[in-house]
């Protein structure tokens, strides 16, 4: 568990180009099959190794070095990488323990945060995506809602937390409400922009064929907007993951943000550094998954 989580930023870029040949060589049972590519491989393998594995490793090494230098200087109070590592081994040896409501394993905290993000984001998608289509399709609605969106979008989502607490009378729904507010804007705006940018050629096809509004939506509008929509989803999830940490620091309970604050109150700085890595890696994985999803739905542009 420790190795898997801590090494994934190192291995993620390396795994892409390097793993397939290795896997192939391992699965190919006949010696001729492995011998033929092996003759040509070494020089190419070395170059791809140099370009894909070495730079990220160096980057990470630099981070650890700077961290170590700062931690070694007197009076900073920041634990050294080695100490943090030892702490991480301990934390991840039992990520799913439960000693009462305020003392749970890091796994439970991450899952609790992800659950809030999923609910808040899901509700925002349910409202924001149809709203984006409506605003994009109608000039009237666009002029009606654009000033409101411009006014509300720059507001820090945390400013909405007290309103959530007041209305929902609970910390958990208030945190979800904050996620809802922060993730709705990118989805509304990107969907609306996507609808407005559907190439006129496609709409002309729809007009010449005299397609029904439903066919226009399913065959032209929705597929054409999907890449924009997924960009909105990616931005929304990214923002939601940023905001949930701050929201949970304020609301308490279970969650990675609360965990950070709790460990601060215990003056357990190495746990905070571990939490920073965990938050970063989970955010990275979310982003990666959504980029993969988006690439499945992006088709070649028609412009000749």
């Amino acid at each position: 568990m420790v190795a898997a989580v801590f090494h994934s930023p190192l291995e993620a870029p390396a795994a892409g180009p390097d793993l397939p040949p290795v896997a192939k060589a391992m699965t190919a049972s006949t010696p001729t099959a492995t011998a033929a590519p092996a003759a040509k491989k070494p020089t190419r393998d070395f170059r791809s190794f140099w370009l894909t594995v070495v730079p990220p490793v160096l980057g990470l090494a630099l981070l650890v070095l700077i961290w170590h230098l700062i931690a070694s200087s007197s009076g900073s109070g920041i634990p050294k990488p080695a100490e943090t590592w030892a702490q991480a081994v301990q934390v991840f040896s039992d990520p799913f323990y439960r000693n009462g409501p305020n003392d749970q394993g890091v796994g439970w905290n991450v899952l609790a945060s992800l659950q809030r993000v999923a609910i808040g984001f899901g509700l925002a998608a349910l409202v924001g995506i149809p709203a984006g289509f409506a605003i994009g399709r109608s000039v009237f609605l666009s002029r009606m809602f654009n000033p409101l969106i411009s006014l509300l979008r720059p507001v820090s989502p945390l400013a909405w937390l007290p309103i959530g607490l007041l209305v929902f009378k609970g910390a958990n729904p208030a945190a979800i409400w904050t996620i809802f507010i922060c993730s709705i804007w990118p989805m509304v705006i990107n969907t609306a922009v996507g609808v407005q940018r559907v190439p006129q050629d496609y709409m002309n096809v729809a007009r010449v064929l005299n397609l029904s509004e439903w066919k226009i939506f399913t065959r032209i509008l929705f597929p054409a907007v999907l890449p924009y929509l997924l960009t909105g989803v990616r931005l929304a999830v990214g923002t939601a993951w940023l905001v949930i940490v701050a929201a949970e620091m304020l609301t308490g309970g279970v969650g990675i943000g609360f965990w950070v604050w709790d460990e601060w109150n215990n003056l357990n700085v190495s746990s905070i550094i571990i939490a920073i890595f965990v938050i970063g890696i989970v955010g990275l994985l979310l982003e990666f998954a959504l980029i993969k999803l988006a690439s499945l739905f992006t088709f070649e542009e028609v412009k000749a």
């Binding site: 010449v208 032209i220 597929p223 542009e301």
Partner: protein
Amino acid sequence: MNTKYIDIQGVEQTFKTKKGNFPALRDINLTVAKGEFVALIGHSGCGKSTLLNLIAGLTTPTSGVLLCADREIAGPGPERAVVFQNHSLLPWLTCFENIYLAVERVFGATESKAQLKQRTNDALALVGLTAAAQKRPGEVSGGMKQRVGIARALSMEPKVLLMDEPFGALDALTRAKLQDELLEIVAKTHATVVMVTHDVDEAVLLSDKIVMMTNGPAATIGEVLSVELPRPRNRVALADDPQYQQYRKAVIDFLYTRQAHVEKAA
């Protein structure tokens, strides 16, 4: 034969721009007979595509009337199918699905699914693309995309086929091949065609009538040339046909002597 299948009377088109009104077309009077092949030719910016869009019904004229089969053209519709300049296939649908979308719209109410699929396959076969049916537009060549665009338009059995520089984006060899195919298809289907082009040879080879337009702004029809070459036409045989050369010269003379493009105006 109906000699006024498409009837354009005193059409004028003015666009509103930020710098005020821009007169694109004025005083357009034109008739197209049923089964006739008409080419619109002129320098770029002379409003050929504007006129085609008016016939398609994608835009409405500032003044004047357009009739098709004695009915006013009030909007776009499948009876006036358009082959767009950049093919305008939907990239997320396969070639088959792109055509099926059109077939389903026109014949879906009256025919069974099997008949609709048959029509789609027939249209693909007409342009020789049966093998590419399940490919997406991104996976086939430019010439094949344009063929699918033509097949889509023809599959709707339109009264009029409108083509907006359909071969403009293709290389010369592919263009020649598609022109020959179009000649065959038109001979087979007796379609009424209005085609925008800037290629003199294409206009003479394909058309019964070449409509030459003056330079914009406020462009109008400068001259109409009847091409009375016998069909079927063969590009190789026509290459040194004196009559063909004469038509060709007439168009070139119009375009480059009388309507020589004034560069400083652009």
